[in-house]
Symmetry: D2
Subunit: 289 residues, 4 copies
């Protein structure tokens, strides 16, 4: 049986911490209890941190303010790297003009708008504008009618040879202690199988999102990957992606991976973190402080 490591003594060894959001900092009920102490400690110790998330449903500013409302003010918008930001970068570099059709909420369309392109929900694409559609983006599982708009997305892609971006690679996400919801990544996989085309995916475990965060650090100082540790609750996104990018990794058991399954799933998948911790919460008042 693998031993459980102490989270505080781990982060003491690194200068920069990358955190996954869901299952690490927050869950379906709100903040993970006590997580604010972790960010106090990071501030006190002058550690740099980033939230590296597959959540493309809202802009970094909106994501940050959702933490502020919950009382966690340490996470500011410039600390958030989302797969939506990779989508914006792709559009900046590769799509010059025209309509970008999307599936998701109005909030998620922020990433398209900020590229200077014209976002239009899939539901509003018709004969009059389909020829101007230059990309289709899967942003979020909410904000559209699944039956009508998934069928419409299939038919747009049968008629137009355009790049398709999946801005969140997750298949499902927890909504209560017992239940999950199908995520936009799961819906996109279905459409990809049906139309037989190859989509572009941004988000962990793909390394481009890690590279984006890494470049934010390099913009202001030299850094080695050895200074960074990635903290996450999911083996095949956070841990696989972190490992592949060359980072040390911490699996926390406060989210997707249950304490009882952790060992079995590591052996079954071959995905092994550098450390395993109960959670990313630090007990500041404890005797080990």
């Amino acid at each position: 049986m693998r031993r459980i490591d102490n989270f505080k003594s781990i982060i003491d060894q690194y200068n920069i911490i990358f955190f996954d959001a869901f299952g690490v900092i927050k869950n379906y009920k709100g903040l993970v209890p006590g997580i604010e102490r972790t960010f106090e400690y990071l501030k006190q110790q002058n550690k740099e941190f980033y939230i590296v998330t597959n959540d493309a449903s809202r802009s970094p500013s909106q994501l940050a303010s959702s933490y502020h409302k919950l009382g966690l003010t340490a996470i500011t918008h410039d600390r958030i790297v989302s797969s939506g930001m990779l989508t914006k970068e792709y559009l900046d570099l590769k799509v010059n003009d025209g309509i970008v059709a999307y599936l998701g909420t109005e909030d998620s369309a922020h990433y398209i708008e900020s590229s200077g392109l014209h976002p239009l929900p899939v539901s509003q694409i018709d004969q009059s504008n389909i020829d101007k559609v230059n990309a289709l983006i899967f942003l979020d599982d909410e904000g559209f009618n699944w039956c009508d708009d998934l069928n419409k997305a299939v038919n747009i892609l049968r008629k137009r040879t355009i790049p398709v971006i999946v801005a969140n690679t997750d298949n499902a996400y927890p909504v209560t202690i017992h239940d999950v919801s199908i995520a936009i990544g799961g819906l996109a996989n279905m459409i990809e199988n049906i139309v037989g085309k190859e989509f572009i995916r941004f988000g962990k475990p793909d390394s481009q999102v890690f590279m984006f965060a890494y470049d934010l650090i390099r913009d202001h100082r030299a850094v080695s990957k050895k200074e960074i540790v990635m903290v996450g609750d999911t083996l095949h996104t956070d841990i696989l992606g972190g490992n592949k990018f060359g980072l040390d990794t911490v699996l926390v058991l406060s989210g997707n991976t249950q304490p009882i399954d952790a060992e079995t799933r590591m052996t079954a998948t071959g995905i092994v973190p550098t450390y395993v911790c109960d959670s990313a919460v630090i007990d500041l008042g404890g005797f080990d402080f």
Copy 2:
């Protein structure tokens, strides 16, 4: 370039004809024009025929009466073998009691009812009855709210270890000359990937539906597979399945496979029919009669 065979001279060589329905006998506009002549000829020549279909949306009687309304009275309910009938046989043999949850129209639930079991739409499963659910069936893409009920199906399968039947293996089906709609088989593939369990699929290309039709013949007379030819418009269901079951096969170009693509797709997939015809329509008044 492969030559196009004459459909009439093909069926002259066989005693029994298996037809796919969609793309062969009917399409999104109604009957394939002239197809009634084919069934007149079969009657005149005393040939036996069966419709072997992945359509589990309605009972054989309802399917037959839909042909009658279009003026094709030759197709009676006892000539129809649907993947829904395999589902009913499975339930008869393997599920003794309790609730069978389903996704599909009320009509499609016929196959569950006729098994003497209690069908309940996925939308009506809750804490009070989930423990009595002994199977979940994907019957049809209509009759339910995709967002609510696909999510509910995922969560039922996370809580209950029960057999899951996909009664129609198609991923998509044509609804107009330009557009397709996602079929229940495509939705089921997504759910299977998300829950990570192995579903049971009935319908072409799986051989169990061909065996069902074959057994209907053997109930009243001895027969060899060499007497039967399978006619279909789709390489990877009708032709692959017919070939695998040991039947000679005819690809007709009146449905899913366009004349311009037929050759390329045969080479690409390695699925090769015994014959290729423009359609299953016979020109009775023509000079070749």
Copy 3:
């Protein structure tokens, strides 16, 4: 925790028993100790039985005589249904003449020869005879040079659009208590992915092999699927296939599925047998007799 059933009281309820071979009757060391008592009991009770196996490496006669050499004389060649026999039936019905190229031992080529066709190892296909090759069969993982002949198979399939049969769907098989060996089914999957064509697979869990055994019974008497139970050690072949064909199923823990894993694997895969037993061995001298 699921209870372990008594194998003898199970078979008392059925008239016909289908057995998987490897992991049930024999293993890498020889016969499963005590299994001969099971066959004595079947004889004494006048139960009919068949060995339903994915082993296409040898003819039924050779397979039977391998049991005889181990001292188990009850298993005669007419009791064995192998995926190789399905391959022979396919060739009989669908390939009229020419060369059938194969990967496997000379013994495995029996199934091609008995079809009256000309078997030739893939290694002997060259410019002079490639145009006469009318099918390619994956029979066994032995009898050929993997590097040379797997590469040759890829290139034959790039040049010739012909049916490809995989006569054993297993990915791997145990060779010692600790080690497995890649089976021909695993090699065939790789080739299929590389050439992008659709192969035809015979063997459990596909229902055609169960149907073949079922038809052997129906040749001499009427039978219902309710009279038959399938006994196997592997969830995704024996149990999934048996369930799908409508049979009751017994998972035995003497082969691929370890007692410690059985529960977890049933929940994870959703494949659930009717019964679970330690092994297919009957204790004839025990007090429960």
Copy 4:
């Protein structure tokens, strides 16, 4: 029909050119005729270039000297970015000590040795040293016995939970005008399916190899992705990967993609380059100079 662009006028618009090797600069017969003129032109115009290749069979120095032997001296070792170099970086960052087992030639083991780790061919792993194996690397399809060593790799991975790196993601590569050979990426896919673990893949279309080349430039000067164009012959590696990384892309028709198929394959896959050219050869004496 899509028009064919002029390669010279394309590279005139960019400061940095990334080239795929096989199918662009060389093929199974040697150099692509005339390609040396392209590199003369690049030198004359003071353009920076890198060879971005999935070839991990030899070190960059050995790869460079293979070009020199063919008369192309412009390609020096510091211009080559191979997927093997990513493997070395992974080992540097994530594997501290012990044995690294590999499949490939002795030359390919260079990437392990240069990490200061102890490379050992899979064939030399046995009971005495298996516990010291801390990673397994798929480097090249040559240099080992496929049957013995692929089976051994499977059994090592059943016993040891260690990272597995696939240093070349290609499934197959051309060896003559008519024939291909299975590449190490294809063999690795088979092993991954059999052991059910998740392997780490380096090489196009994954973005980490593009990032590696991009960082080489950034080490000596500021650069925008808009200054770079990726030139390749394969849609799903060079073009998909280049597009995803945010680069403009050129598909050349001198390798994997035939002129007759280019249009169809772009539509079928949805992978569309910025430009299409016959080859990467520049006609320096032509009137457009």
